[in-house]
Symmetry: C2
Subunit: 146 residues, 2 copies
DNA sequence: TTATTTTTTGATAATTATTCTCCATAACGA
DNA sequence: TCGTTATGGAGAATAATTATCAAAAAATAA
């Protein structure tokens, strides 16, 4: 079974356990999020769902993403000046590399920051639950004016 | 001269150079941002400015903060589900420690991530311009139910 | 100083992403 | 299959932020 299929199944099970019904629209949303190389926005997910389910409302996408967020099955990247973006393939905190020109978001293949987090916790008394690390810059394509 | 006064003067000079006029309201905003231990929101700045200038509009605060952001004299912490928060004392990217219960934001005394950034740039071809690193957790006060 | 020009202020309207409302419909356990 | 109950969809509501614009204040010129 592919990683993507495994992610879809995992999300499905988590939603079921919570008492959610798996509708075709939701399944489509899960699939898009699990594939999500591009870290889509709700708007972007909505556009892709509509290809198969033309009557879908954007509210449905918001509601499904919200449940997944609550379940820890999707990572939300917050942008107060733009649509939030979502990572359903790797829902745990990890670094992101964001092109400030085209909005592309990449996942550099790096490990987490356990030791850093631990030291910070013992220094400050905080119980650290999560973190967010994002690098911003201009991608090679945008540097070449493509 | 105190660090805070130096920050105020620096912001003032940068705004002057850009052709901005330093009004009493703006000076009050600069002072609040330079002191900003608590990483205030626009709303919070507005409340404090109103103590001295009761007729101030929140739009004035938004506009001033926007100019400072453009000049790189204030760091914006983005929260898509809440007011953004601002750091005028240390306007360069640095880690933040955020209590998810009370909203307190601390600056742990850590250095930047130059080496990390450099490696990432050479790995991906991105021209890295800035980064964002935020740790979330529950502060000691909130753990004790205060 | 006074007149003139330009920017800023402040009140409010507009915008935009997101959330809510509500009922017909669909999912799913019995 | 049936009955219960969550969901879907359309549009209204919300909330943070931004835009508008006339009046006031600051800079500049005379």
């Amino acid at each position: 079974m592919s990683d993507i299929q495994a992610r879809i199944d995992n999300m499905r099970i988590k939603m079921k356990e919570r008492g959610c019904r798996i509708t075709p629209q939701r399944l489509a949303i899960l699939a898009i999020l699990a594939e999500s190389k591009g870290h889509p926005s709700v708007e972007g997910i909505y556009e892709r769902v509509k290809a198969n389910f033309p009557t879908t409302s954007i509210a449905t996408v918001y509601k499904t993403v919200s449940v997944l967020k609550e379940l820890g099955e999707v990572l939300e990247l917050e942008f107060s000046h733009d649509h939030n973006r979502y990572d359903g393939a790797r829902p745990y905190p990890h670094p992101h590399l964001i092109c400030t020109k085209c909005g592309k978001i990449l996942d550099p293949a790096w490990s987490r920051f356990e030791d850093m987090t631990e030291r910070l916790a013992s220094d400050t008394g905080f119980k650290i639950t999560t973190h967010r690390l994002e690098f911003f810059g201009v991608c090679p394509e945008c540097q070449n004016g493509e």
